[in-house]
Symmetry: C2
């Protein structure tokens, strides 16, 4: 067999994630260049936005776009949708960490935004990132000058997932349920709103901008809802039995805070079975797709196999 013969390579997720993360972070840097110079808001927004993170939402947005794309020329726009999603995610972390909310002083091993700056600046930096997300989306649409209806569709979808029909309501319920026992159904609903809705919007908006057929969207939505929930279940499991060094944060904190979690409601081993089941449903939803959806498949498996 000569050395030029074709050997199919198995899909390499860690390479894929690394490459897309760099792509997204480059996009975010370009967005930040549009912020005013010599501004405390710019400093705080940059600090929060560029302090690492998995970039899960923007990568899902791009992977979904690649899975359905019928229109290579629309792929440029996908990056801006991906950046907007990461900016919304970052704003939500800044506000959730505030003293009046979760009062967290560390995130990813670094002081949270209100600790590194101050509360007023953190509130405003969050407001700025949320607003800039919609500026980035509309500016990308206006610059692209085609498919305006696709952009308007994803803007409604993203706004809906981020506000009272999604993330903001989820955070309100999360705060409200602290110290109270809630049912498994309420816990699932709370996570569906708090994190699931934006993950769903990430997958769907990538697919819409890339010109994916409407018939494929329902499958992608099922995929997203299930990996979103699985992600949360695994987060709770890692808080029980994860390695604090690999995680970069303390474990056992949920129990100390008396938080409602899947392990506390279902037990640890049932929680693992539940997470696995969710990922199986997500993978089944991708059966109608060709191998361009391999990244989405690999991300689904990663969600339960991850150690951090």
């Amino acid at each position: 067999m000569d050395s030029f013969s074709y050997e199919p390579h198995p899909f390499n997720l860690s390479e894929y994630l690394k490459c897309k993360k760099a792509y997204v972070e480059n996009g975010l840097s370009m967005v930040l260049k549009g912020f005013p110079q010599n501004s405390r808001i710019t400093d705080a927004a940059t600090y929060a936005l560029m302090s690492g993170g998995k970039r899960l939402r923007p990568i899902l947005c791009i992977a979904a776009a690649e899975a359905v794309s019928t229109d290579d020329s629309a792929m440029d726009g996908v990056l801006w949708a991906a950046c907007a999603l990461e900016m919304i995610h970052t704003y939500s972390l800044i506000h959730d960490d505030l003293p009046a909310m979760d009062n967290d002083e560390l995130r990813r091993g670094k002081p949270t935004c209100h600790v590194a700056f101050d509360e007023a600046t953190a509130i405003l930096a969050g407001d700025a990132l949320l607003t800039m997300a919609f500026e980035v989306l509309s500016a990308a649409a206006n610059k692209q000058r085609k498919n305006p209806v696709r952009w308007l569709r994803i803007m409604e979808l993203i706004a809906r997932a981020s506000g009272v029909h999604g993330m903001v309501e989820g955070q309100m319920r999360d705060i409200g349920s602290e110290g109270e026992s809630i049912s498994l159904e309420s816990l699932k609903k709370m996570h569906r709103l708090k994190t699931g809705a934006l993950i769903e919007a990430s997958v769907c908006s990538g697919a819409i901008i890339a010109g994916g057929k409407r018939s494929l969207l329902d499958h992608l939505r099922t995929y997203a809802i299930n990996i979103g929930l699985a992600f949360q279940v695994v987060d709770d499991i890692l808080n029980v039995e994860g390695d604090p060094v690999r995680l970069g944060k303390s474990v056992g904190t949920d129990k100390l805070r008396n938080k409602n979690t899947y392990p506390s409601l279902l037990g640890l081993s049932e929680s693992k079975i539940f997470a696995k089941k969710l990922v199986e449903i997500a993978l089944q939803a991708l059966d109608v797709f060709d191998n361009r959806s391999d990244p989405l498949r690999a991300i689904a498996r990663y969600v339960i196999d991850r150690k951090k």
Copy 2:
């Protein structure tokens, strides 16, 4: 002269404002009906959004639309742009009042949102209103199914005016300049960002949705920038010599707080001359318009004649 002869009626501003205010508030009620039931966020957002106010931004949006409209069928959409602007204005008031910012306990004679609810709820209610503004805009665009490009243009314009290129940066500078003396130029720039940008966006977005010609937009922009600044100058003047009963708030507070104001930098009588000059420039900018811009003219005069 028989009683049926034609007598031109002078334009009645107070009737106009009353009528448009009711129209906007009806629109806002309809938006709030789309919020989830039994939600603390909905309660807090409703409390803040429906607690009065002049509704200046949405009324300017509608008046600008009426001044340029070439397309009656687009006027429906103007209401939703107007509502989105009022929601953004309200979110900014909720966040500005927070203890970490201006720490105000009363607004329009009622407890501020974080006093009536709590800090976490107020932060989230602000976030929800800001997000909902973009949901309302994109949903209106998607429902109207025409002129998507107009909608995308105003979304970029409104986002830009609300974030780091406008309101958020203005609020950051306002907080940063507390207790420090700043120049007249810095004070003007700060107000241009903090309040002027959204007033400009209000006027321009109404005109754009109504299908106004691009050549008219520059005139409307000049109008808006000048009445926006005049409004702020008069606010400062009223804080010196206004009637606390009519104003519904204390006077003399700026001096007590050592705030940079036009009277403190220019003196009271120079400030009055300055406000009048600004309104004259605003009125001149309307010279190219016909009598459909009478409401805009009357609003400009009202800005300096108002007693509250």
